[in-house]
């Protein structure tokens, strides 16, 4: 391997392998803008579904509608949303400028706890929705709403 040409070939091959590996990593890791778009979209979908539950508990109650909406909130809350707040996404634009406060990335333990609360109450809402008990849904809906507000107060800037 001491022959200059052999050495050149070995270095060239190693560089090629590195380039392929870097490209594979680049494919796997979505850009920060994409992560921000996904998290903003996920919260839009939660907001849409939350509004549907609200309309039902405040107006004409339709069990199927509530089940559908509650299942979306629960499924999204279960779906590792915190991975969308990866390092590198502290600032930037998805569908619009991120409203995540610096605390999201600094106080990750408290943020995880706030997410855990949302997840727990959302899954409970989906369970209660399946029973069709409108009064119980209304009460549990309030609990979910408080986890939203709690997290927004600490981790989301006013928009």
């Amino acid at each position: 391997m001491n022959h200059p040409i052999k050495k050149f070939v070995a270095v060239a091959l190693a560089a090629g392998a590195l380039a392929v590996a870097a490209s594979a990593i680049a494919q796997q890791a979505p850009k920060p803008e994409k992560l921000i778009t996904w998290r903003q979209s996920a919260f839009q979908v939660v907001g849409w579904s939350f509004g549907r539950v609200k309309a039902n508990v405040e107006g004409q109650y339709n069990k199927d509608e509530v089940v559908k909406a509650a299942n979306v909130i629960a499924a999204v809350s279960n779906s590792s949303l915190s991975t969308l707040f990866a390092p590198g996404t502290e600032t930037g634009k998805g569908t619009h400028e991120t409203a995540a406060k610096p605390e999201v990335f600094k106080d990750t333990e408290k943020f995880a706890e706030a997410f855990g609360n949302f997840k727990r109450e959302s899954n409970e809402l989906a369970k209660v929705a399946a029973t069709g008990d409108a009064a119980a849904v209304k009460e549990q809906f309030g609990k979910v709403g408080r986890t939203c507000k709690g997290c927004h107060d600490d981790f989301k800037a006013k928009e």
Copy 2:
């Protein structure tokens, strides 16, 4: 009721009642831009989750990750997405200009059928994901992908 003042009062009260009713309807019906934002967000969330299933069937397979992502796709597919394509949302901007083709609003029967296919295959994907059978998930994932493509070909403009 034939006295002019009584008549005036009756008309004024009726007009007031109408205004209140109109206001209540306006509160209930989200603006077209909001409906477009929600549908665009829902498809972003589906795309995010679809990509997660893809990464698992093409790389290291993690059952829990696939279950979470598949449950999101199924829940969103079950969630009356077609109501977000209400009349009045043929054009306009949500997070960006809508890419819905005019056919969405003209050929509603075919659009509903395309959505039904997506819903059916997505719910099947969630079922298969729960078994943890990676090969079966890969096959079912392909079926879901074809329902996406089929609908996009007919109903979504190139962006």
